[in-house]
Symmetry: D2
Subunit: 470 residues, 4 copies
């Protein structure tokens, strides 16, 4: 083959290699997303840098990254050694230079993505192959180990209480009890339709237990309407004053610009030790990863979490996040964020119109930038013969609508040893409406909203027919 | 296309579908391994049963299993929802019937694989997308929650001590401290070349703290020679007598028939609450999964672990294990186990011959069915000009030999707040030899051993040359 | 796993299977494109119907569809037996019911796609794993065999001449000579800027050789401007009158609605025996396949072509076309066709503006619905020091613009034993302009046009600088 | 990530790149096969060298290698432009430097593989994306064009007859008639159980038509027993003497060392112009490719074939062959050849034993190194009620035995316009036995043979039961 053709071809190849080099030197999201060929070229090259893939390797340890099933090897690009060392999950794994590089890079790009999303001033970020709940547990365990150290001259403390602003999602509370800690539940306040943080009760709790017993305050920023994100700025101020750590469960809050702004404000004005977020909910990857981030001004907890993690971990969650971020690039990431921001008002508007048609209304929850709640009062308990309103949820599910939740007052449930009244509605006092929630989450499209409304209309009509009405 | 051809073709297709049906009804490893096409057909069909893959799905929740990057979707066969619910990681996930099916099946097949490996009488098994260390932590946390419950009429206890037979591998100790627990280290006894469990010291420790303070005894069955597996039968008897839980770190012990026999004996004769093992080390999948198993006679802890896990988890580790087990079938699994059993005597024999050539010897460690130790006494401290003996390890690594460990006495190290003398050699008193370890682990071949010996020979010669010798 | 979840999951699976059933019963393009999972599910199921993939197969023939390299097996979904039998390439292959089904279906969908594109009245279509040129050769060979048969009572003829309207693209002429036939070249006429079929010369040629010596007239409908598509309607009428077969080289004409209309008109008003088109150029698949179609009113040649093909053939080209057509669906196919139709006026408009900036003009070629020609007269031979104008093409190529052709008069070339003056410009008399061509082909976007203009502008400026101008 | 780890990793990567460099400089099969990662790395790098994959490419031609369906793009590694130019299918395609490189390399490695298989003295080899039959047609067409040229001073000839030694496989004869040529059939001679070339009849045919009318003699080396390979050495001598071209249909003969030896001897002692062989039958790739090879001493026809091919062609067949050859390496290729050589005596021995059990015998066909024939005389026409003996073949097929052929005398069939008596048995006079064939082809294992015998035994028993016997 003639040299001039080959040379032009090699320029094509070199163009891709320059993308990789630029990524490695900048450690920031490329502006434009990469095509699949470049993404895979990069991952395969990293994989070739792991010792299990050395052509001459002779492994005589207890763990040599051998993969028995070719299908498994393929789907993981031959990456087998995982990441981290027994001492630190973010440490380089000597047998796996390539995986270590991938993992470090993913953490760097994840930080970049958080900044682009609006979390100005974010400091170190670690990617964990644990979903949000387990990551919260690990964060609290790391905090406990850190606090137990005491530090220079101070007697070691062993704080065992977590002050927790109620959110009726089991995982978050279980993350506290799984860590062997005692949750102190701070109930919410109702403010119009919205449920908000009860700052006074929270302050009282801190005072009651004192700094020595409170390991942390845990707040939540992403939740189902009509609950609003916690007042993280207020809590941050309170924690700063009380000298108490503050961990934020920001499960799917990265996708909301308002929430990112709140977090930035919180660590600027008060104390935030860690913000934990899911990778699947915010970055459209499979369930199983999370990011623990700390503000640049109080970076310590991230390293403590990494150091607490016992042993190696899977690299799969890193890989999924890395591939997705490279696929998007900064431009693509901004675009999906922007599309989401635009879907929320559309969802509200379409649901408001639908509500009007059926004698319902959309709850007024301006503080919640993701979730909405639509009253179902006309369906609830209309007659003895009427089905339970929760059946409305089943009807939607039967029509392939997933993700809605129908909430009716009255259910008492014990979670992690704590009894909650009206579980599901976030409040002890019965909420004055039966309602269903629907969210404008990352990836939701206007077509989704349109189709939701079509199916909702049908379900309203049918449900009422079953009730003997219409 | 004529009907008779189509019919014959459909029989071919039906033959594969029968394999799937048979698997689902038996929930046991098929005798013969499946080909790739059948494995993938099954996984893809399961994937089509998850709601995120329904062709008509409209998702309006905060987590709808959307995947942004096609490469990520492909490598996970479109499985995005993970497994479990907030209450229990082994519970069915309503949005993901297919993933739930895969996960339940994997746990069943994993139990079957343990039984085939020799763990007779094993009861429930859970697959966790956590490597061994983190699984141990979770197991201890679950135990703590369970113990805290107290039970009928008993005052709640809060035991905080873990009695732990020393093994110089950081992860295991960190698994204890990460859980917020206090390790009590029981040193080993030397018996000839071997290091074995000090049963008397262990019994004394139990007596000293008492049942109310000891959360568990943690033993280890797979370790580097010259340490032997702990006397799990003796410890099981002791724990039964003392009413104290017993957790076994069986990281890579599944692959050794002798170790499986020991475990079976332990739970037949005494108390074992959980046995934790790595999926990557025992089943040749990527790092990141583990199995927590309990004996059929004391099954409770597995459900407790599942119930303690906060939130959903990734399905990737299950999938890798499932694909590998189906790829092998029972016959293939028995075959790789058998091959491993045969490589150990070969490794010992070849290293003995090599040792003779270089004035060294193989330590006599009959109790360790996986790892061997070769003395390096002729290389250690032979002259002032000689390089440190650990450099021998670097030389091997430079020649693409991975997995050996060179151990010389004298290093003191703090792990999880505990100081250890002679860290790496498992004993406080200096071990009388400098040595290196090599293992006959699953997947090691005779060719690996041959090549190891060739490179070892070269390194011996070169190292001595550097020392000014030979 | 509970039955209700499984049932919902199975509905998801059944939904996809219904798509397949509907496709098999209708044998028409589905309206909406399929997702990747459904496409692959279908192909894999077909593959499982081929005997080489039967789990119990014992092959003791000389050709058993064994695949040695797993990567090869994977990329072909295990399809190994190819299609056809020694007697007929479109016949069912008994060892490969699945491949036979795929192939038959592809031909049916391809016919549907041609109809959607505008080829009303198209009859049988065969997909050949041969690019256009080789397919033309095979079509001519089939015609020769068919003509040689003579038919009822007639003496067998052995016509050896192909009357061919000149188009300066080597493949088409080589397709004639490769078949062992003698081309008679009919030169074009210039009409304004356009080059069109010389109907009188063509009629004269037919008369000169007579029906017994002329195997076929071969016309071309897709070509570089300023040549226009041949007057296929006129030729069809002529052939009908003369009783001479008419084969149309419609290499990339499917994508142009005007061309499809011409063809329809041609077979409605006269004689067309076969229309040959490329799959890669019209359907965006890799090079290597073509469609031979015949009008419903004169369907015979397609079966003759299939019957002439000696032996089996690869199924790869069918598979690529099938996957692409299912990926699009009828809606997607209409959409890409529509987008192309809209790009042409945009290209013309942008090039006209650019021409004005540089003292050139776009040739007036209203008959060519795909290709355009821009004069380069200001660059040609402006000074002794000036580079040859063809260097302008190299400059574009260096800037990653592919697909343009710079044509200057003066080159004489022999193709297939025939000498052509001014080869490249389709005419013996020097064309009055030097020009370059650019096409609005399937898949070309407005962004491509914009970027083309940017780079063209730069090249004009630079070229003139090199000439010592500007 | 620390530099020392990265460096070690980069060595691992460099090791693979050295394999590629070495391949490109030697253009010979690597001794050891490559692993999948290296094979794919190489192909992907080549793909990145094709202009359709340039990140900045702007395509404005009629054929720009765009791929609409991501699944199609993936399975072809983004290779879309095919190979060759309109003038020559082996010429470099300027738009596709990578594909051109792949294609040239494949041809070189294929030649190497033929030499390893025993074809000493083989010269140029071209890989065609055409199965054997179509390649034979193209070879004959190229020969016709070449002969038509006449050459220095000679009047142009137009030979139209192909002298062809009968083999009852339709494709071969159709390859002649498809080319528009007239076959002259030379019947075989029976010699014991074997059917062999009738050299006298062949010589007589040559004399009858004379050099001016005979385009070529076509012989066949791989065929079903009891036919033996043609006496290619004798025919080569005859052709050399008569000045007539000699084309060998060596469809699946590469796999037999004896056949390769015969070919070598033929071109050493006489005239061979081209040897055509299938890639799927000899190299275990999907149906659809072939190799046309010429002896080093008479290399011209390969270039003529390449130059005759009109237009570009698919690269898929090259790619499959390349991947398979790299997967094997020279060592792997020798190994599969060796295994095949060993299966033949095993097959003969097992069938002989089976024949003894059922009162049949294996025909004595020492000259056929691949195919065997087992008499079925006890099944044929035993009673009026007995099913036709060909039903025995259906019984085997129903039991998933593929590739056997049951041959009974008496069938007359017309192929390509020629009538054959006793079609299927290669002879006009009824062959004295009814028989079935079975082959020891590349990839057939001893297990296949064992299973064949089991099923044959069952079919014998069952067939006789149906006949009212046993």
């Amino acid at each position: 083959v003639s040299l001039s053709y080959i040379r032009q071809g090699e320029q094509g190849l070199a163009r891709r290699q320059r993308l990789v080099k630029s990524l490695l030197s900048s450690r920031r999201l490329p502006e434009a997303g990469w095509d699949e060929a470049t993404i895979e070229m990069f991952i395969r090259d990293c994989s070739a840098m792991d010792s299990n893939n050395f052509l001459d390797n002779v492994g005589v340890g207890e763990r040599e990254g051998r993969l028995a099933c070719p299908l498994v090897a393929r789907r993981h690009y031959g990456l087998a050694h995982g990441i981290g060392r027994s001492g630190d999950v973010a440490a380089e794994q000597p047998k796996a230079a390539g995986s270590s590089l991938l993992a470090a890079l993913t953490a760097a790009l994840a930080g970049d993505a958080l900044r682009i999303a609006g979390m100005t001033g974010v400091g170190p970020v670690t990617v964990l192959p644990l979903a949000t709940g387990m990551s919260l547990t690990l964060t609290l365990l790391a905090l406990r180990v850190a606090e137990a150290d005491g530090g220079a001259g101070l007697p070691a403390a062993d704080p065992d209480v977590v002050v927790w602003s109620r959110v009726d999602q089991k995982t978050c509370l279980k993350a506290v009890t799984a860590a062997g800690l005692t949750p102190h539940v701070v109930q919410l306040r109702r403010q119009g339709d919205q449920l908000v943080t009860d700052m006074e009760a929270l302050a009282a709790a801190l005072q009651h237990y004192g700094r020595r017993r409170v390991l942390a305050v845990v707040t939540t920023t992403s939740c189902f309407a009509p609950r609003a994100p916690d007042d993280v700025v207020g809590v941050a101020r309170l924690c700063a004053g009380a000298g108490v750590p503050h961990v934020v469960n920001n499960a799917y809050g990265v996708q909301a610009r308002d929430t990112c702004r709140l977090l930035t404000s919180a660590w600027n004005k008060g104390r935030v030790d860690a913000v934990v977020q899911s990778t699947d909910k915010n970055f459209m990857v499979p369930v199983g990863g999370s990011l623990v981030a700390a503000p640049a001004g109080r970076p310590g907890l991230v390293a403590a979490v990494n150091g607490t993690y016992p042993g190696r971990a899977a690299v799969a969650a890193h890989l999924d996040l890395l591939m997705t971020l490279l696929h998007w690039g900064a431009a693509g990431w901004r675009k999906v964020l922007h599309q989401r921001e635009e879907v929320l008002p559309y969802l509200r508007q379409q649901l408001t119109a639908l509500a009007a048609r059926h004698g319902e209304r959309l709850l007024d929850t301006p503080g919640n930038p993701i979730s909405t709640a639509l009253t179902l009062d006309t369906l609830a308990g209309t007659s003895a013969a009427a089905p339970d309103v929760t059946f409305f949820g089943s009807m939607l599910w039967q029509r392939c609508v997933s993700g809605t939740r129908v909430v009716a007052p009255g259910k008492t449930q014990s979670v992690g040893g704590v009894a909650f009244r009206n579980y599901g509605s976030h409040v002890e006092e019965p909420f004055p409406h039966t309602y269903m929630t629907a969210a404008a989450a990352l990836g939701t499209t206007r077509e989704d909203v349109d189709e939701l409304v079509v199916r909702l209309d049908k379900c309203f009509t049918e449900f009422k027919k079953k009730c003997g009405g219409v």
